[in-house]
Amino acid sequence: MKTFNYHSTKDVKEATKLASSSSAFLAGGMTTLPSMKLGLASYKDIIDIKRIKKLSGIKVSGKSVTIGSTTKHAEVANSKEVKKAIPSLAALAEGIGDPQVRNRGTIGGSIANNDPSADYPSACIALNATIHTNNRKISSDKFFTGMFETSLKKGELIEAVEFQIPEKSCYQKYPNPASRYAIVGVYVAKHKSDVNVAITGAKSCVYNEKSIANALLKNFSSSSLDSLKIPSSGMNSDIHASADYRANMVKVFAKKAVDAC
């Protein structure tokens, strides 16, 4: 790993002031540090935001669950409030990586990185999330813009993620046996007037599969998906799964998710 200047910061102002075109914010570091070790990324300044108190914690109101950006996966997975308000979100957090990754990795880090196989981006899309940054609110359908790309500007810091509490929801994934990243993950959420079916792992970026969502909006049952054909164009193809396989898994896991809602 190339060396850098490490800064531990105490408030958002201090952290964003230090940011430059050659800096990175560090939360859990579960992706940032391995990427730096592999030489895929290097920075002049690493700005640690873990000690900024206001960025951590979980708040539940009648309509939403708001999770601070440096809240760890284990905290979300074990939160009684999250389990009660959106059980599928706690279950998603419990399925990320392994216990040690869950003890360090954070929700803000996960969505800022926007790995095409990460779990949390699908929760944001399915649960109509709003991403709160240090200077604006971004709706999740405008946040995830491409592979490892988001609409965050340089030096913009995620402070919290606000999820809308659905009527019912479920996340089902086929995890890579080694990394536990989703080969395909499907997050189905039924809200009062709409249904979202967020797919991760299948394409270069998380997306809302409208054909499944529309079928479920008419009839929220797995049998309503029987006649649907999911095209494999644009799907990832690698040593773990071909594009055709992934397309099939999208439907299989969507049905599983609906049945488990």
Partner: protein
């Protein structure tokens, strides 16, 4: 350079290290605590698991600077009065190791599990050890060792 002050296995340490020093390197190369192993060095294999403030983490993927002020326990910190920890005893008795490379991480992970859950099922043990990879013994005896330790801790 950064001055890093930690409590490691009950002893206070304070060392000046380059900013990019990860905890596994700090433990092994600065403190000579080589019981913590480095396997994949990319947070997959779990050979480097230690406890930081009572929670298991992968020490290859944490900067020493960013755990400043924390309490760290490594495999060397488990022995008390010359006696092995019940988890170490159980791994020995159940033949939960062959080459032993993954063992320090397995032991540290498994202790964290029992700190959460007193009598885990086989499935809970296997789920918890998802982030610890063993290439030689296989997992049967490791699971048996954790179960035995659970009955004694």
């Amino acid at each position: 350079m950064k001055k890093v002050s930690l409590e490691v296995n009950g002893k206070k340490v304070s060392k000046e290290v380059p900013d990019h020093t990860v905890l596994s390197v700090f433990l092994r190369e600065v403190l000579n605590l080589t019981g913590t192993h480095i396997g994949c060095d990319t947070s997959q294999c779990g050979a480097c698991v230690v406890h930081v403030d009572g929670k298991s983490i992968k020490s290859c993927t944490a900067l020493a600077a960013d755990i400043e002020g924390s309490k760290v326990t490594t495999i060397e910190g488990l022995v008390s009065n010359g006696k092995m920890h019940p988890m170490q005893e159980a791994f020995k008795k159940q033949h939960g190791l062959q080459c032993g490379f993954c063992t320090p991480g397995m032991v540290m992970s498994a202790i964290d599990l029992l700190n959460h859950k007193k009598n885990p099922s086989d499935k809970e043990i296997r789920d918890w050890l998802e982030g610890n990879i063993c290439r030689c013994t296989g997992y049967q005896n490791i699971v048996a060792a954790v179960k035995e330790a659970a009955s004694k801790m």
